[in-house]
Amino acid sequence: MTTEHIVVVGGGMVAHRFTEALRARDTEGRYSVEVLAEEPRAPYDRVALTSYFQLKSPEELQLGDPALWHDPLVTLHRDTRATGVDRDRRIVTVDGGREVAYDHLVLATGSYAWAPPTPGADLPGVFMYRTVDDVAALRGWVEERRAALGRPVRGAVIGGGLLGLEAAGALQSLGAISTVIQFADRLMNLQVDEGGGEALKRLIEALGVTVRCSTATQEIRAGKDGHVGSLLFADGGEQLVDVVVFATGVRPRDELGAKAGLEIGARGGVVVDDACLTADPAVSAIGEVACIQGACLGLIAPGNTMAEIAVDRLLGGSSTFPGADMATKLKLLGVDVASFGDAFATTPGALEMVYADPVNGVYKKLVLTDDATTLLGGVLVGDASAYASLRPMVGAALPGDPAAWILPEGSVEKGEIELPDSAGVCSCNNVSAGAIRDAVNHEGCHDLGAVKACTKAGTSCGSCLPLVKKIMGTELEKSGIEVSNALCEHFELSRAQLFNAIKVAEVTTFSEVIERFGTGRGCDICKPTVGSILASLYNAHVLGGDRAALQDTNDRVMANMQKDGTYSVVPRVPGGEILPEHLILIGQIAQDYGLYTKITGGQRIDLFGARLEQLPSIWKRLVDAGMESGHAYGKSLRTVKSCVGSTWCRYGVQDSVGMAIALELRYRGLRSPHKLKLGVSGCARECAEARGKDVGVIATDKGWNVYVGGNGGFTPVHAQLLVEDVPDDEVFRVIDRYLMYYIRTADRLQRTAPWQQEHEGGLDRIREIVVEDSLGLGEELDAHMARHIDSYEDEWKAVLNDPERLKQFTSFVNAPDQADPTLAYVEQRGQRRPATPEERAGGAVLIAPSTLEVRS
């Protein structure tokens, strides 16, 4: 068999998918592929372009395994633009006149960023937003202008769609002030309805971005220096700008196809049939350049589908384009927006079910069939957490009351959804629930990494990952395959199993633990876990015995490591109540050691930039004054936040500060699977935000309500009511048992919220165990907590009293009087902070560590 030669014009995302899929499926080597790419780099992840600003190098945007380009049957030409196609001779001409012959030609030339004809659009300082080169130039310009102007750069993005909002976020992350100029009457008008647009605008403005809707830009005017200076609007308004980004849409790059006499769609694009073939059977078009079923599709999902179809057809298959899923989710940090299916309720008889909370910028809408059962589409703004579950349900009946999906968490019980096999789960890569089940059941993929590698689900935008994981878990469970709970390669046991094993065997050292229950030498996963279990069980000093070597980064020196290897010290301020002399002491320490100070989100003061060898002397100052350092580290109790309560507040009904102090002193030092935070409010106004904590205590006229399982962080959850109107001693007893039971049974790094959700029988079952004592565990849990409280010691003071442990707090074993010479700082707002690599390289004024010695 002779090898046929395929030439792909365009080196974008879809060209990559085509090449990858062809090489994966053409196992006999029927085809060789030559990719002609105009950009100077291998295909990269354009969808993630905005993350360029956070990346070290463009290589991090690389798509897939770079080994693809070294495959003997694949040739990639960068910096190579195709200029013509001769279909009779089956030849592509490239820049410089070279001719490349093909047996089959694939056009994957994508789109270009389009800007409406606007006078001044060619001025220096006006940018497009499509390629790595575009964003690199944009970044360079913003940085250069900031330096030249000596003030924040004023930026404007013309276009308020998905891309425009991403670009506005990018401008902001570059330190520029950003305004979005939108021609339509609302942001993202193609995806969200009026209500959604309003909520979205509020969220975007909350990020500090100014939004101008219904505004047409008439002209871009130059400033005195010949660069962009201002925008002139059709309504006569004007705005000063130093940089302008156009995000006004894209147009297919169909010029090659047009020149070659191929049919072009009414709105552009090379016309193809459902097999992605043009009228010339030797020419296909895929991705954004293709006009398929009458339209060019500006998303990666349909592009990837076309690539797969083209490959399938070349290999003799008969797949056809199924139509596109245009569901979208905005990837802007901190703003949740998603729209899917029939978002504008254009289906005859469609019902709209809307929940809006304008104060918090939440707007959710479900579009349902006239009998309110089948999901047709929806818009989610401000909280799109249901997107991954809902999108694949389009066209199917929602179990239970559909309102549960849009009302605040917990107000109505949600039905369990079992997705049909045909439901699309990952829209970026067009992977169905069935394909994931198949990978789990027939391809031996038993963990998330394997499922991702095998199906490609979750490998692009990642928004489907929670769902992929859930489907995988359900399948594994069904087929009786045990989901491995092994801690790591050294322990087969889960954390809860190991906890029990250690407790029953009464072993107290890591060497005994690994000898009896594990293999090898341990690692950075199991060592801290065992360290934490030993601490929960015996409450002996974390640096005692052989335990220092088990502790994670921060526990190891009992302070929080910062990015430059120095530490922060956060003195304990129980309940947030502090004596003026202690406040002064903290300030004094900061001054003496030149530490950066900041009030934390947990009602205490953080002192940053202390070197390892300085920690003991800082602790000593605190201990001498009757304070202690605090746990801002450790999977342990952090803070108990309080409001002022009845002692001062005119609404308070109980002494919330007193309660918070009592709780903090009771549980300080308690090691647990993950960190623990508590809060106490003096009345139902909840000024301490106690329901955002693992345990929240809220005063009532009759006593206290105790809420459990709240979480801030990545997946916020409100705590749920455990007991009502109980007196002080009952508060302690219930919390003692709840925490101890959590400590014994939770997984490694599992916070109370997910633990409680995943616990068999949920909170009701936990209430039976810890309040009603249905397992008869109560006394044991009480005794365990009592042991902890009685054996608490100030762990920092203990180190000060132990010369052996103090030895660890040395900069260099052979030069204990020298500080880490690589530390470098610059001044910012009157304090110091670590210098950036650029500042170091540029020789910006640095404060070397030697000038930071203790002054006393």
Partner: protein
Amino acid sequence: MTAVPATASSTATVVCDYDRLTPELGVAALVGGEQVAIFRLADGSVHAVQNLDPFSGASVMSRGITGSRGDVPTIASPIYKQVFSLLDGTCLVTMDKSPKAGHAPDLVVYPVTLDNGQVIIDLAGSE
């Protein structure tokens, strides 16, 4: 670990007593201007690698957690938790991150010799 007298090479530096090292707990040392992280493992062997963590740019490797991957003794960075072989410095787990600009992902390994209860590091023999 062959016992070579401290005088065998002019670039060799005596760093500390072997007894000063606690099993499985690293220390940092300044050797001819270079920062070196030194580990004494439970089996008695001593290993030395660069103290600079290529993924964060901070000089902190001595404060990482020792362990093993298969038979290879390892050290994990205390900052972003990359794992490196203590035998040849290879980065075994990148945590899907790339090193800071200008740094290779692998650590430089320095030969360690023990002589008369003293730990000696030779910068010239690094690989």
